[in-house]
Symmetry: C2
């Protein structure tokens, strides 16, 4: 395994994640960093953070991709088997760490990863739409 370094850009990206309660897209991170680094660098940092199991990737039905910190006590290798919620109104995506789907797979499949994303209205938007 390659040695990984702590750079200014990586630290800044991590701070952005720290401050955010919801998942973030590459573009959102780039805007918050305010040209601290190139957008390609952010893609590469995200790749590294995923490999280090510090963040995980969330792929939404509408095609958008976001990233969120793993805020559970995490072992080195773990499956992100919790659900994510994507609000159709405010477009925020949040980890639902406590929502874990149970399901029965047919034989002869080897499951390595799961992506369970629900979409609809989040509590905020549900209340304001009375």
């Amino acid at each position: 395994m390659k040695a990984t370094r702590n750079t200014a850009a990586k630290t800044a990206v991590l701070e952005v994640f720290e401050k955010s309660k919801t998942a973030l897209s590459h573009t959102e991170i780039h805007k918050q960093l305010n040209d601290l680094c190139d957008r390609v660098t952010i893609y590469r940092i995200l790749d590294r953070l995923i490999n280090e199991d510090v963040i995980h990737k969330i792929s939404n039905l509408d095609g958008t991709v976001k990233y969120a910190k793993c805020n559970h006590a995490h072992q080195r290798v773990h499956i992100h088997n919790h659900a994510h919620f994507s609000c159709e109104n405010c477009h925020e995506i949040t980890c639902l760490e406590n929502v874990k789907p149970s399901y029965i797979m047919p034989h002869n499949y080897k499951v390595n990863e799961i992506n369970f994303t629900l979409s609809g209205l989040c509590p905020n938007c549900l209340n304001s739409n009375i």
Copy 2:
């Protein structure tokens, strides 16, 4: 609701879905149609077919998007609550119509759609990798 028409292109796209046992990407459909119509047209046909609940969209963890026919007896409005499997080796995506996740949501969320995609090795690839 707007009236929808049966055009040559739409019929051709439906035939492609009919023949395929796995989900198809926009690009795969375009190649199979062999320049019968423009690629923009295919995007628009896919949009219409989704609105008509004839096909459904599958968004994978790696960012790829595919489409598959609804082959259950379908009511006008229905949730596609079955799982999809994405093979990391052959990249085929199949509907697992019988795999439906059960889960418990916190209150105050309104769920309209779910996207449940599992990835790993499909039976074919699992066997050949002994």
